[in-house]
Structures are given as structure tokens and as C-alpha cells.
């Protein structure tokens, strides 16, 4: 009788505590629920760069991809561009590809900006926000690091320093290139 009471009470309390714990956990993580998570496959996409060349993410399998989302109006983006450019030159023949996705701006604004800031890496424009939605990008800049298998290994929101860019690119460099 006493035993039964203890068991029943324990079961009920455990069920209630689980429900509360789940709610609290879900509440704390709800801001981090992203379309793409670390460890998941990077959603494939295909966008055309300013020179008319098509870049399909899955074509870069076997290489690390440094995927950066940016805008011409975004101050921190402006800051990190020269760093990305330097590291792009250093890593471009070492198995790391840079893809910079501008979110929905005009060809003119983007191409003039790219010219002005001397960004040599491929810049694609996500005109109708399809890629932005697929990656759940909201505040800019955001950088996704995609390893040679096509898995996302890191997501960084906010500006980067040059040493971070270097570290990130080293992280996704294919083993045979190291």
C-alpha cells in the first residue's frame, strides 16, 4: 500500500517534471532553432555569380566551402571582406572555395560594391531569398563552414577577424591538401 503510493506519486511527478523540463529546454533553444544546424547536410543551392557563372554547392564536394552571407548596407560585412579576400587567395588552390551570397540586392549595387572593395571571390546574388530561407539567415553577416563531405561544421553570426577567417578555412581544408 505504502509502496504503491510511492510508486504512483513518483510516476506522476516524473511525468510532470519531464513536461516542465522539456518546455524549459525548448524555450531556451527556440532562438537557435535554425533551418540548418551544425552537423547537418548543407542544403544544396545554385546561384549565378556576377560573371554569369553558375555555382552549385554540390559541385564543390571534396572541397571545403566558406559560405558567407552579406549585404552592401551591412557594416560588419564591409569590415570582414578584405580578410576573406586575403585568405581566399591563400586557400583557393588548397581546396577551400569561398562563396559569398548577397541577399537580394541589385546587380548594379553589388557589382559596384564588389569592384570598390576589390572582392575577387565569386559573389552570387540570392534575388528572391530562396537560399536565405533555406539557410534560415537573418542578421548579417553569417558564415557557414561546409566540410568536403558537404556537412556544416560551424555557423558563425557576426563579423570575423582575419585570424578567424584563417582558422575557419583551415578547419574545412580537405585532409590531402594539408
Amino acid at each position: 500500500m505504502k509502496q504503491k503510493r510511492l510508486v504512483i506519486r513518483s510516476i506522476i511527478l516524473v511525468i510532470l517534471a519531464t513536461a516542465v523540463a522539456y518546455t524549459l529546454y525548448a524555450n531556451f533553444t527556440k532562438d537557435n532553432v535554425k533551418a540548418v544546424n551544425v552537423g547537418s547536410k548543407a542544403p544544396d543551392f545554385a546561384l549565378v555569380d556576377l560573371n554569369g557563372q553558375k555555382h552549385k554547392l554540390s559541385d564543390y564536394k571534396g572541397q571545403g566551402v566558406f559560405l558567407n552571407f552579406w549585404g552592401t548596407w551591412c557594416k560588419p560585412c564591409e569590415k570582414e571582406m578584405p580578410y576573406i579576400n586575403n585568405q581566399y587567395h591563400y586557400f583557393k588552390d588548397k581546396g577551400v572555395q569561398v562563396l559569398a551570397v548577397n541577399i537580394g540586392e541589385s546587380d548594379l549595387a553589388v557589382s559596384k560594391y564588389v569592384e570598390r572593395k576589390k572582392m575577387d571571390f565569386p559573389n552570387v546574388i540570392d534575388k528572391d531569398s530562396q537560399v536565405q530561407n533555406a539557410y534560415g539567415v537573418n542578421p548579417l553577416p553569417v558564415t557557414f563552414l561546409i566540410d568536403p563531405n558537404g556537412d556544416v561544421v560551424k555557423i558563425h553570426t557576426g563579423a570575423l577577424t582575419e585570424s578567424m577567417v584563417n582558422e575557419f578555412m583551415t578547419q574545412i581544408q580537405p585532409l590531402k591538401e594539408k
Binding site: 511527478l13 524555450n27 531556451f28 543551392f45 541589385s106 548594379l108 549595387a109 531569398s129 530562396q130
Partner: protein
């Protein structure tokens, strides 16, 4: 834990105030001459009796109604405090919440933010309070409904004298014979009482079902809270805003790129004194402009075939629909609501190329502000190159031209005008209401020649799979309220004791009703009307 055996033979759980079966009071209670507290049929709320393990202690804490009431009071006070300053979702986007509250409201704002009042419904302590109320509901209910159910099930027809005497409605009358008892029994049955007889004693009962009302009500609340919890499960609840310009086609967020929306037109109608009913005239005179309709005419499109993001999708038209306030476009589990708008966003800008000294016009150009062309060829060897474009122009801290956003709120351009005199071109910088000439020696100027605008609709993208659960909880809640409020649990005991007939009655509410019923019952019999003993008790 000792169980208590009553002299009637029934074994009661420890802590029982009076016997579940016959109603005989325990020794301590026997000395007390007051009326019985019938609230839980004198049954032992288990929390009051066992207090052994940690589990029992936690259980007993939540089993207390006092604790439950305090939890509700604290939650209500916290909710009230949460309305003093605006919630995070209503503050302007200009600075992060962590700075905004301190900046606007000083140390009080800072504290408000630190304690999580700025986003109350997501504060961990607020959630814990709500969850505790839920736990309290479950445990309080279980702890009371089970003993109550058992006590009511085990009650016998013949009750102990002490029990009858201590009922609020009680009276003694001359003894009745078998026929008279039968007569009263029939009357009770007619009044839809459930009558049980034992050795010439009667127990008439009806509406016991009303006693479960509060517990049914609590089950409803638990389902309601559970429904609210479901919102945290991914895919159950979506609440996003989609800004879409007239003429634009955009993917609808959270649909996995499957659905697209085209905005054909945004309409804002206002009441017109000439056309609308005169009844509105007075109101219109008082307040001026009143909006009659906010409407977005949209086309819902579905992606066909397998394209990956970024590729131009093939879109199939599903339906056209005018979205108005409270008339959302519905598809699958989604609904798109009209929520906001922006009128007259710049979409195109025209300029005239003129010769500075003669104002002679050399041609017009029209720039699409969303996707401007790079070059405009005019006749007679003139052309204009667009060197730079800043949709939302401002000077940055180094006095360099820059853009604050990608929305053409304040477009500015750097033109290069190529003319027969100047095949290399001459540069000029043009922004709204300011032409900043880089050189005095420019021969030509671009002068502003008009704009085209379009409207932007904001639609809420909403999906809520939890609604049915919440509505179901609400329904159960209401059933419980009705069950407890519109029925009364009435019992009448008629017992032959030592040559007299005793009548006692109890109801959980509406004493007037049961007294009136008894009045009708004893009309034309030897029985005298029982007294309401609570009146005497008050006098004493």
C-alpha cells in the same frame, strides 16, 4: 499508518473525520457540537496524513490549495509588472534590448531586463510558475477527487445519529408507518431523486455528478496548458512576417520552399462621405480619415518539379485571393493575414539630362530602383552610365557615401554623362533634393523628373496545429464549469430512530432549493419542517 475501524464495521483510511459508510464521527469530533464540514465528505486528503519520503514532501507541497493560490497570485502580479514597460517585441529595432531598457528607463529598465520582464512569456521563472500551477492543479485534484469519490461510493443509507444531527438541515418528527414511507419515497422518485431504502430508512440523492465539475474543469485546464506546451515542438507553430512589394513574387517562409506568393496589389480604402452611408458622417467629421479596408490581392503559387534553392522554380498557380483583415488566405495548415503595409515605396525614378547653360533637354532616363540598368543610351551621341547606386543613401563616419539598407528609401546615384564634347564622361552625384556637383566645369546635369511608387504589404504567416488541443481543453473546461454550476448534489436522509423520524439534508449549494423541495415533500404528511441549523449557529 493505522486504519480506523468504525463500529459499523467499515474500515476508514487514517485521517478520516467521520466514517465514510455510516457517518459516525471520530472520538475527537464527537465532542464538537458544531455542524459538520461536508466539503470532502469528511474524507482524509492523503497529503495531510502521509509525510514520509521526499516524494511525499514534494507531493504535499503541491497538494496544498494555499500554495496553489499563492502561485496564481504571484503569477498574476508578475504578469501585471510585465505590462509596465513595453515587451521586447514592441521596442524599436534601433538597438539591442540589453541596451534599450537601460537607455530608456535607467536602472529600473536595466533591472527589468535582467529579471527577464522584457520577454515575460519566455522567462524561465515565469514558465516555472505556470508549470507549477499546472502541477498544483494535477496534484490538488488527484488528492481530493479520489478520496471524495471513494467516500461517496461507500456511503450507506443508514447513517449515524451524530452525523444526522450535525447536518445543516435537520428535524425530528413523529414516527411514520410503512405506507407513509412508501408515499414519501414515491414523491422523491418523482422529483428525480435516486432513492435507496434500508430497514425503513431512506437515502435520496441526486446530482452527485455535479461534484465532479471542478475536477473536469481542471482536466480541461491541464489539456489547455499541454496545448500551450505543444507550441514549443518544432513544426507545430509558425508566426512569421512576410513583406512583399506589389509585383513581387516571394517564397513563403516555413513552407520548405514549396509555396510562393505574388502580390498583385495592395489596396487601402478610406471612408468617403460622398459615397458611404450618412450614418458615418458625424464620426468622420470628428476623427477625420478612417480606413475602411486593408487588402492585398495575391496569387498563391506552388513549386513544380525538383529545383534547388536559387534556381528559377517553375510555379503553378493555385489560387488568387484578396487578403483582408481577418480574411486570411488559407492553404494546407497555413494562413496569411494582412498585418501591415507601407504606401508609396519608391520603385522608379526618372531624370532628364539637360545642358547646364541652356536647360536644353537631351533625353530622359528611368531607373528601376530594385534592379537598375547600368547604361542608358540617348540619341545624338549622348549616354548615361550609372557608376554607383545607393538605395538608402547616407554618409558614413568617413564621409563616404554608403547605404543604410537595401530598401530604396533615399536613393542616390553617381552618374557618368558621356557627350560628344566629353567622350570620357563627366561625373555627377545625385541624391533626393541634393545634387552634389563634383566639379564646377560640368557641362551637363541630371535633373529630377519624377518618381513611380508602389505599395508593400506585410502578411503574417501563421500555422498553429495546437489550436485544436487548446480549443478542446477550453471545451472540457466549460463542461466542468457547467457541470459544477448548474447542478446541485442534494441528499435527504429520512431515518426511523427510537420512535421518531429524523430528516436531515445536505446540498453542496442552493440551500434554498433543497429546503423548498423538502417543504413540498412533507406537505400533507405528519412530518414537520426541518430547521436550518446554521441560523442558530450564527446566533450563538
Amino acid at each position: 499508518m493505522k486504519e480506523v475501524k468504525c463500529e459499523c464495521g467499515h474500515v476508514n483510511p487514517h485521517g478520516t473525520v467521520f466514517c465514510e459508510a455510516c457517518g459516525k464521527l471520530t472520538k475527537e469530533q464527537e465532542e464538537n457540537k458544531n455542524l459538520l464540514d461536508m466539503r470532502y465528505e469528511g474524507s482524509a486528503r492523503r497529503s495531510q496524513t502521509y509525510n514520509k519520503s521526499v516524494i511525499d514532501k514534494v507531493w504535499n507541497f503541491f497538494s496544498s490549495v494555499k500554495v496553489g493560490v499563492w502561485l496564481i497570485v504571484i503569477t498574476l502580479s508578475a504578469s501585471a509588472v510585465g505590462t509596465i514597460l513595453p515587451q521586447e517585441m514592441y521596442i524599436p529595432n534601433t538597438m539591442p534590448a540589453s541596451e534599450y531598457y537601460a537607455d530608456q528607463y535607467g536602472w529600473m529598465g536595466k533591472l527589468y531586463y535582467q529579471l527577464g520582464f522584457h520577454n515575460l512569456y519566455s522567462s524561465w521563472w515565469y514558465l516555472i510558475l505556470i508549470a507549477s500551477i499546472g502541477i498544483s492543479l494535477v496534484i490538488c485534484s488527484l488528492d481530493r477527487v479520489i478520496p471524495l469519490y471513494k467516500a461517496l461510493k461507500r456511503q450507506r443509507v443508514t447513517r449515524h445519529e451524530g452525523f444526522l444531527k450535525r447536518q445543516r438541515v435537520f428535524g425530528e418528527s413523529p414516527s411514520l408507518n410503512q405506507d407513509e414511507i412508501e408515499d414519501i419515497k414515491q414523491k422523491l422518485v418523482k422529483k428525480r431523486y435516486n432513492v435507496r431504502e434500508e430497514n425503513g430508512n431512506l437515502l435520496a440523492e441526486k446530482g452527485r455528478f455535479s461534484r465532479w465539475g471542478p475536477y473536469v474543469n481542471h482536466v480541461g485546464l491541464i489539456i489547455f496548458l499541454f496545448g500551450a506546451m505543444l507550441r514549443f515542438i518544432p513544426g507545430m507553430y509558425v508566426d512569421k512576417v512576410l513583406w512583399i512589394r506589389e509585383g513581387e513574387t516571394k517564397v513563403i517562409p516555413e513552407t520548405n520552399g514549396e509555396y510562393y506568393l505574388k502580390n498583385e496589389e495592395f489596396i487601402l480604402d478610406i471612408y468617403d462621405k460622398e459615397k458611404d452611408n450618412e450614418a458615418f458622417d458625424k464620426a468622420l467629421d470628428r476623427v477625420g480619415m478612417v480606413v475602411k479596408n486593408y487588402q492585398s490581392n495575391v496569387v498563391l503559387l506552388q513549386k513544380e518539379g525538383d529545383t534547388i534553392p536559387g534556381e528559377k522554380p517553375e510555379l503553378k498557380k493555385i489560387k488568387e485571393y484578396p487578403i483582408q483583415v481577418n480574411k486570411p488566405l488559407k492553404f494546407e495548415n497555413f494562413a496569411l493575414y494582412q498585418v501591415d503595409y507601407k504606401l508609396d515605396e519608391l520603385s522608379k525614378m526618372s531624370f532628364k539630362l539637360t545642358k547646364k547653360d541652356s536647360d536644353q533637354s537631351l533625353g530622359d532616363i528611368t531607373i528601376n530602383l530594385i534592379e537598375p540598368e547600368k547604361e542608358f543610351n540617348l540619341k545624338n551621341g549622348y549616354s548615361v552610365e550609372l557608376k554607383s547606386y545607393f538605395p538608402d543613401f547616407a554618409f558614413d563616419e568617413n564621409q563616404e557615401p554608403t547605404t543604410k539598407s537595401r530598401v530604396p528609401n533615399n536613393p542616390a546615384f553617381v552618374f557618368n554623362v558621356i557627350s560628344p564634347e566629353n567622350p570620357e564622361g563627366e561625373m555627377s552625384f545625385v541624391a533626393i533634393q541634393q545634387t552634389i556637383d563634383p566639379g564646377e566645369d560640368n557641362l551637363y546635369k541630371m535633373s529630377f523628373n519624377g518618381i513611380e511608387t508602389r505599395n508593400v504589404s506585410a502578411l503574417t504567416v501563421r500555422k498553429d496545429l495546437t489550436l485544436w488541443t487548446i480549443a478542446f481543453g477550453g471545451l472540457i473546461f466549460m463542461i466542468g464549469v457547467i457541470q459544477g454550476a448548474y447542478w446541485n448534489h442534494r441528499r435527504i436522509w429520512i431515518q426511523q430512530i427510537g420512535g421518531t423520524t429524523w430528516i436531515a439534508a445536505h446540498t453542496n449549494k442552493n440551500w434554498h432549493g433543497i429546503k423548498r423541495e423538502i417543504g413540498q415533500l412533507i406537505d400533507g404528511t405528519k412530518l414537520t419542517e426541518p430547521m436550518d441549523q446554521s441560523i442558530n449557529e450564527e446566533k450563538e
